[in-house]
Point group: C2
Chain length 110, copies 2
């Protein structure tokens, strides 16, 4: 049984889907996450997490147009379910802000 809270990567991927909007499928999600965080994420990893988030109702997916202009297997697009995902994100963010509050200065520059 999954937790109710979000894992670290789950949160990051959820935020990336929010950011990418209509272009959210495994490949660009992995790329954008890597770009923003300097963390290497393979498309397979992104795919797995997207799937699990959908299983919990935080995302829904739909397959792309059946006859796209390019080669390759049809894409599976994801979008966030606001009612489920936003409260979870809010909670993560609040916890984070509370934990960091007053400690930023101890990190030194950058």
């Amino acid at each position: 049984m999954p937790r109710s809270r979000l894992g670290e990567l789950e949160e990051q991927i959820l935020l990336t889907v929010l950011r990418l909007g209509g272009e959210s499928y495994a490949v660009p999600v992995a790329r954008e996450l890597g770009r923003l965080t300097a963390r290497e994420v393979s498309p397979a990893t992104a795919y797995m997490v997207l799937r699990r988030l959908e299983g919990r109702g935080l995302l829904v997916s739909s397959v792309g147009t059946p006859a796209p202009e390019r080669g390759g297997r049809p894409r599976r697009f994801y979008r966030v379910v606001d009612e489920q995902a936003l409260p979870a994100l809010r909670e993560s963010r609040n916890a984070m802000l509370a934990l960091w509050d007053g400690l930023e200065a101890r990190l030194g520059p950058s």
Copy 2:
């Protein structure tokens, strides 16, 4: 072999140790983390994470005074190793800020 990055709870516990300073052992770390985040964390959980972080060199520990004024087994106190822990925290924080940047408004109030 552990990852180089921090897990979610590892980051949170590291921040809590920073916050508590000299009074950081399993019991108050769990309590303070629970207080700040509304997340229930048992002393056993905090203890495990503290231990793993020490194993990676992000924390060091020492046992309390052998004859304290109170009952109970001697406490094991932890403190952060700046050279190891601060860069990891900085990286986590930067990733987080980058991922959230521009998205705060979409969460709605609170």
